[in-house]
Structure formats: structure tokens, C-alpha cells
Amino acid sequence: MRIKSIDIKNFRSYYGENNHFEFSDGLTLILGDNGDGKTTFFEALEWLFDTTSERANISNVSEMRKSKLEIGERDEVYVAMTFDHDGEKMVEKSFSITKTGHDTYSVSNASYHGYETNGIERESVDGKLLITRCYDSFIRRFSMFKGESDLSVFDNAASLKTLVDKFSDIHKFDGLVANTDSFEQKANKALLQEMKSDDKISKETKSLDLQMTRLSGEILQNKEDIKDKKDAIATFSSNLNKLEQCQETSEKYRDVQERLKTKTAKRNQLMAIIKRKDYNHCLLDEYWVLAPFGDILTEFKQKCAALSKEKRIQEKNFDKQQAAAKAKLETIKEIQGALVNGATELPWYLPNQETMEDMINDHICKVCGREAPEGSEAYNFMVHRLEEYRAHIEAKCEHDAKLKSIDEESLFKNDYITELHSLSISLSGPEESKIFGISREINDWLGLVALRKNEMKEVEDEIQDLKDEKARILIQAGNVSESLLESQFNDIKGWYEQRERASVRLSQLEDELKNNISKMEELKEQMNNLNPANSQVKILKKVHKVLEEINKAFSRAQKDNLRRFLMELEKRANEYLDKLSANDFHGTVRLIQTANDSTEIHLYSSNGTEITNPSGSQKTVMYISVLFAISDFTQEKRDEDYPLFFDAATSSFGDTKESDFYNVIDKIDKQCIIVTKDFITRGKVREEDINKLTCSVYRIKKVDGFDQTNMATIRTTINKIK
């Protein structure tokens, strides 16, 4: 199977549909820095090949695409591959996504299908079937490797055993050995039965048989116990060895963990500050919306002041008017007073109105005592006087009434202007300076946040560096787990003690076993020496013996077969190791069978001593050599080849080795796709080194100008640079 091309649309950081990779038959390198999209590329492929799940998952959708969708709008997500496998084929996994609300989406139309050419025609085929047929999960285990720690699939004994089982013919022997085992047991059973019915030896047979049955039970138990103990001891030893070898690494590791913890706490602290204020709420709750209000406030105050002033002026004018009107009345009154009777006010000594009425009625002047009969001059004079007096009083009343009405008149019925003026005053002083201070408050806060964001970016870079360092330490430490590196020396003491105890118990068990086995031998000898009367017994004994020997021979042949397979695998692996190691390192790979029927890979230096703790790059080269050897076998066995994918998350090679290494791989007749950080220094690709390569090269990169707190600004671009 050879991959021709891969297309990715809207899968995580691969936004849009121009994400296209083409692959040559040899090596294709994909270069990318941290976060550029290397791992995502890998995961896109894993998603495509995963036949166990066909559900659409919204977490796989490009955030950038999601953010650009309008409500009601729909787009698709897919990963597609064209490849050659007995003819040209294509497979694609896809689904649709629709934006249903400001922050809600729905997924639909999950599809997994492909095409294959049948002669000239193109036929549609179910994706799951196609992949199961062409690139099943067993092969993928030895074809796709994410991260260098994934290569330690080889440290997993079980998977190597599966590999060996599949590719050697050992399983053919399985059937035969099983049969001969069964025959031997049946023959034995028949023999025993015959012996028990032979009068001469039946009693002894039965007794021996009983003992042997019991003993074999004990022997079985011994073996199990011994195996358990050995496993336990092996675990302790292995842990202790690893720890001893990497004590320094462990310290370094713990140190990095501490620093990572501190930096992460700092980052979280900064994030809390950055997110503390919701600007939209602040517009209202903290009156930020009033930042430009100053001019309007001034306008308001000026208007209020002007209104107050105008009102005062009008009131003053009005008062003046009123005063003038009053004064006018006074004058009129005076003039009026003069005109009424042509004389001045009645002198005080004159009688009042009542008296005058009396006098008129009595026809007598009570002042001078003269009689004033009706019609007389004095009488007429008094009447006239009274009339004048009455008119005068009337005029006075009228005049007073007018004065009163002038007083009671007011210009302004309401006092809203005063209300406004009070408001204007209360919005002055400290209130007013607060308003003018708001824009500064906003700028200060935004400035603070900008500083914190810069700080946070620095801290995040530091965190990433620490994570890289941690990864490097782990790789150098080899197959030591993180938890092991974190263990304290108290744990270690405990392990020593337990190992001791287990060793002691193991010795005891082994002695027991030895005794039991020799006892068993004795019993077998005794059984054998029994002399039967019946000739049938003699025959069955012989039959049994033959089958026993044949069984052993089959067993030995099976083991031999395995041994030869491993030798061949080892030989090929070493051929590749030679090619890949080029100048510096020379050593050999050995495939060693372990007690529980599985295989381990070990590296030996050229002088024959084992390299127990190979460096990261040695390990990589070693595993890759084995992988190429296995790939040879799949080619021969299945008459079909498979591409090898590596996602080398951290570069573990020294700078000088890179181009040599890759050029060798390019020359090997296998399709390889390697995703790596190599050839990138400080974000830039090293042109001169790329030029030394013979293979094709892609560069994937996050687009500039992204905001790392906002996933929707992140996208990966692809650039073929060679």
C-alpha cells in the first residue's frame, strides 16, 4: 500500500480546504515546530483509519471555521486519502456542521466511504470495510508511531509475541504440537487403564498413579509459584536498576516538575487577573460608559446655570414691574384723593361717616350746633360732604384691592429650574471629577491587562520549554515511567527488602520443585519396572513411548522454527542498523526470547557488552531498524508493503546526523512519512540543511498574528518547500 495524497478540511487547526499533502514513494518529511499542527496531522489520520467509531465529534472541528460561520450556515469536516493497493483507491471520513445559535452547533451526515478501481470502473465501497481490508489495525500498530515513546511498543513483550506469531509459521506447529500432546496423554491413559486391570500389577499401579497425580499437582503449583516470584523479583530489580541508573535524571526530572508547577500557578494567576473584569458589565456597573460624558455634563451645568440666572432676572424684572405698578397706584390714589372733592383729606377733627349721617338725619350740625334743616345750605353742605366721603372710601377700597392683587401676582408657578439646579450642584465637585477620571481608569486597566498578557505569553513560552525539557529527560531516561522518576528513596528501600524476601522464598520453592521432580522420576521408574502379566500392557507401553518421543520432537521443532525466525529478523534488522548508523555508532540488535515465550529487543555494542541504557537517538535507530525488518517480512508474507509514519515530537538527534539519517531512509525502498521538529531553529527553517536532503519536504506552520487565548485565531498553513 502506498499513500498518494492526503486532504484535510476544517479538522482542528487545519482550517478550510487547501490542506493538501502529496507523498512520494520514498521519504516525505513534514517539518513543524511546537503547536504548528504536527500532532494534529497525525490525529487526523488516526481518526480517518479508526474503524471502531463513526460518530461525528464536534471537538474535531476547526475553531476558526466555527467562529466564521453564520447562524444557519453549514460546512463540512473531512479527512481523505488516495492510495495504491491493488489499484487506485480512496477513502474519506466526513461530517457536516451547522451553526444553530451564537455558540451552539449541530453535527450530522457522518460518513465513512471510499472508492476502488475495478479494472476501469470506479466502485463505491464502505470505508470501514476498505480500511479493514487494506490497512487493518494490526498492521497499523507497526506502521504508525506517534512520538518516540510510542516506539516502545517493542518493549511490550505481548505485542512482539503477536508479531512473531503472525509472521513466523509457528502457529502451524501449534496445531501439530497440540495433537501430539493429546496423543501422548491418551496413550498414557490407555496404558494406565490396562495396567490397572492387570491382576499382577494393578494394586501397585493404582497406588503409584495416585501418588504421581498428587505429585504432579504439587509440581504444577511449584512452577506457578516460582513464576510469580520470578516476575516479582524481575519487577523490583528492573525498577531498582532503572532508578539507580537514572538517579540524576530523577533529580533533574523532579526539579523540572517543580518549576513547571510554579510556572503553571503563575500563569493561572495572570489569567485570573486578565479575565477579572468583564468589560461589557463594567460599562454599566462601573460607569465606564460615562467616560466621554464630561462635555455633556458641562453643557448640562451651563444650561442649568443659565436657566437659574434667566429665572432670577425675570423674577427681578417682574418684581420691579410690580413695584412700579404699586407705586403708580399710590400716585393715582393721591391724585384721585385730590380730585374727589377738590380739597385735601378730611381733617381729623371732622366727624366720621356715622356721625355725619346722624347729623343729617337730625338736621343739625353737631359740630357747631347750628340747626341744619333740609334744603338749607348747611344741610346740603353736610350731604355733599358725606357723599364725597363715601366716594373716597370706595376709591380707597378699590385702591387697596388693586395693591393686594399686584402683590399676590407671581411670575413663576413651578420650581423645576431649582430642581435642575440642585441636581447640577450635586453632580459637581467630587462626582464631576470622578466622571473626568473614568477614561484614565479604563486606560490604566487596559494597560495593566496588556502587561499581564505579555507576561503570560512569556510564562507560557517558559512552560513549553519546560515541557520540552521534561520530554527530553524522559526519552533519555529510556523506558522509565514518570511515576518511577518521581519516587522517593524511601520507596526504594522498601523494594530492596521485598526483593530480598522474594529471593529467599524463590530458593525454597526451587528446592521444593527439585525434590518433587526427582520423586516423580523415581515413581516413573517404579512404574516402568512393573512387570505385567498381560502382553497387551507391553504393547501399550511401547505405543506410549513412541508417541512421547514424537511429541517431544515436534515441540523441539517448533522452538527451533521460532529461533530461526528471530535470527532472520535480527539479521535484517542489523543490516538496516548498519545503514542507518553510518559513521559513529556500531552495534548490534539482538532479539532474545524470554521465559514466558515472548521476545525482547536488546542493543549490544561492538565489543559484545549490552548497552543497557541506550540514548534516545540510539533507541530510535534501533527500533526503526527492527521496523524496517518487520516491514520486509510483511512484504514477503502478504506480498504487500505498508508506509511507515513517525511523529517524532522531539528531535533527539544531534544536528550533524539529521540529513545523513534522512537521506539513508530516502534510499530505502519503503514509503516513509516523518513529522519532525528537525531543521527548524528559532522558528525558521534551516535552508542549507534542507538543500542537502534528497527527499520531498513540507513545512507546516501556525499563521502569524494568532492570539493564544483564542482558539478561533489559530490555523495551520502548509507549504511544500522541496
Binding site: 493429546s182 491418551k186 490407555a190 511401547k542 508417541l547 523441539r556 521443532a557 522454527n561 525466525f565 532472520e568
Partner: protein, 76 residues
């Protein structure tokens, strides 16, 4: 490749086992191909060949046992 892919090779692998040769009292020249082996006078050679051949023909274990058992009882 060193691994064995057909019955002939399995036959060779088993019968050329030294201990078996010593037990059975035969040499490598006595073996021949699988059909000759099945017909051999030497019952060890014949039994091994029968087992291999019949198993690859898909014979059930119980059936094969009967055949082998009967054969051996007659010929040892």
C-alpha cells in the same frame, strides 16, 4: 526465509531431530518425501508423516488419534 511453509519442510524438521533418530533407529536417507514416509516400514517415520499429512488435510483430532493408535498397536 528460514521458517517452514509446507508439510515437507515440517516433516524434515521433525524427523531430522537427533534424539528422535536415535530412538527410532533410522537415518536421513530413510525419510524420503511425505508420501514415501507415510509408507515407510519404520513406524516412527510413518507415524510422524501421518500426523503431519492428516492434520493438514483437516482431520479431526479424535479421528486421527484412532488411526494412529490402531496403526501403532499393530506395528510396534
Amino acid at each position: 526465509m528460514a521458517s517452514i511453509t509446507n508439510n515437507e519442510k515440517i516433516l524434515q524438521a521433525v524427523l531430522l531431530d537427533e534424539k528422535l533418530m536415535e530412538f527410532g533407529g533410522y537415518t536421513s536417507e530413510d525419510i524420503g518425501n511425505i508420501y514415501q514416509a507415510m509408507d515407510s516400514d519404520n513406524y516412527v517415520i510413518s507415524t510422524v508423516a501421518q500426523i503431519i499429512n492428516r492434520t493438514s488435510e483437516g482431520a479431526a483430532e479424535r479421528e486421527l488419534w484412532k488411526e494412529i493408535n490402531d496403526y501403532l498397536k499393530r506395528n510396534v
